[in-house]
């Protein structure tokens, strides 16, 4: 009997050890998703004074500086919706390029996939992040070279005929990621 108990106890210990390892792997994955989504949860604690009548707030917007030879780039931002109903970003344009499209990028089993989307929905009282590894504004056919420190004007068109124009700074990707990724 004692032997049986011993074997059982050992099996359990080994089993628990293996399980703990499995969990550790799981946690690593979690931390990735947390890192991707935890950027700006405090954004909704807003200062009423800076909210326009349309109750949409654009913050942390930036356009990616790229190689001068490239005619495309991407723009990122947070869109806060302080309305009681959902709104949708339907299209965008800029003075710096011929076309702006709404795109979504995702990594699926190690594969980068990109697709054009018709709308980006922002829930009532919620925020949507356009950020690397997720949604971006695809800026196509740049009409000038964009250098870090400059600004471009971006007009966003939402459902309910809401239109918003914002000045968006051009930033260098490397300096951006230095702030975020401590890894």
């Amino acid at each position: 009997m004692n032997k049986v108990t011993l074997i059982l106890a050992l099996s359990f210990l080994i089993g628990l050890g293996v399980l703990a390892q499995g969990n550790a792997v799981g946690r690593e994955h979690d931390s990735v998703s947390i890192k991707l989504s935890s950027a700006h949860t405090g954004a909704l604690l807003f200062d009423a004074a800076r909210i326009d009548a349309d109750k949409i707030v654009i913050c942390d917007a930036w356009v990616q500086e790229g190689p001068p030879s490239q005619k495309i780039t991407a723009a990122f931002m947070l869109i806060e919706n302080h309305n009681a109903t959902e709104i949708s970003l339907l299209s965008a344009s800029t003075d710096a390029a011929r076309v702006v499209e709404l795109h979504e990028m995702l990594i699926e089993e190690g594969m980068m996939r990109m697709r054009k989307v018709d709308a980006i929905n922002v829930p009532a009282g919620g925020v949507v992040k356009l950020e690397p590894g997720g949604y971006h504004l695809m800026v196509i056919d740049l009409n000038r070279e964009l250098k870090a420190g400059e600004q471009v004007r971006v007009t966003l068109r939402f459902s309910n005929r809401i239109e918003k124009t914002v000045n968006v700074p051009v930033k260098n990707r490397e300096s951006m990621s230095e702030e975020g990724e401590g890894k």
């Binding site: 009997m1 049986v4 108990t5 059982l8 099996s11 359990f12 080994i14 089993g15 628990l16 293996v18 399980l19 390892q21 499995g22 990735v32 990616q64 790229g66 190689p67 001068p68 030879s69 490239q70 495309i72 780039t73 991407a74 011929r98 076309v99 499209e101 795109h103 990028m105 990594i107 089993e109 190690g110 594969m111 980068m112 996939r113 990109m114 697709r115 054009k116 690397p132 590894g133 971006h136 695809m138 196509i140 056919d141 990707r173 490397e174 990621s177 230095e178 990724e181 890894k183």
Partner: protein
């Protein structure tokens, strides 16, 4: 005294504890094999020939004795490729004076748009010691297969024309031209720099 029944239950539980996580591992492996070709460290990295950003023939064996970081991408890629190149710029920064012993290979999967000239202008922007490689579609496909990578050209309803879905793994190749390690897109810069340092010794 335990009854046979409770012993059986305990044994089954113990078995589940032990086998459970393993079945998970097997699952993941099948998944990755279905996604691309099966891959084993050391089994890839055989030599290949492509064209570099100066329009000259390039062989992986030209870099014997140096550590190589290789990944697949294309210059019209708005997010993933700039992310990887920015990450590599940080790796080079962490490497400090040892940076000259590490060469990055950006293998284009877009021969239609990425001519040697385009690759040269593109890579010059990033603070990475990188060579841009291109070739005919057949030449590129062969290297892609060799590394168990994947890509697919997607005709998009986009003013940017087609776009390319591609695998994002980064291959760390040792001084003998063999793949030492394969990194996921999410991999951190420090982890990468440490692995490079271990190879440099």
């Amino acid at each position: 005294m335990m009854s046979y029944r409770s012993i059986t239950v305990c044994l089954l539980l113990a078995l589940a504890f032990i086998v459970g996580p393993f079945s998970f591992t097997v699952d993941a492996r099948i998944k990755s094999e279905r996604g691309g070709r099966s891959w084993r460290a050391g089994s890839e990295g055989a030599n290949f020939t492509l064209t570099n950003q100066d329009g000259r023939a390039f062989q992986l064996s030209d870099l014997r004795g140096r550590v190589v970081l290789l990944f697949f991408g294309y210059t019209s890629c708005p997010d993933a490729c700039p992310t990887t190149l920015s990450k590599l710029a940080k790796v080079y920064k962490l490497l400090g004076p040892e940076r000259d012993r590490v060469v990055t290979l950006f293998v284009s999967v877009d021969p239609g748009r990425d001519t040697p000239r385009v690759l040269k202008d593109y890579l010059r922007y990033f603070r990475v010691n990188a060579l841009g490689l291109t070739g005919t579609k057949e030449e590129i496909d062969r290297v892609v297969a060799q590394y168990g990578a994947r890509y697919e050209i997607e005709k998009a309803d986009s003013a940017a024309g087609y776009h390319i879905n591609h695998s994002t793994d980064l291959y760390l190749i040792d001084q003998k031209g063999e793949v030492a390690q394969r990194f996921k897109y999410e991999g951190g810069t420090k982890e990468l720099a440490d692995a490079v340092r271990r190879l440099i010794g």
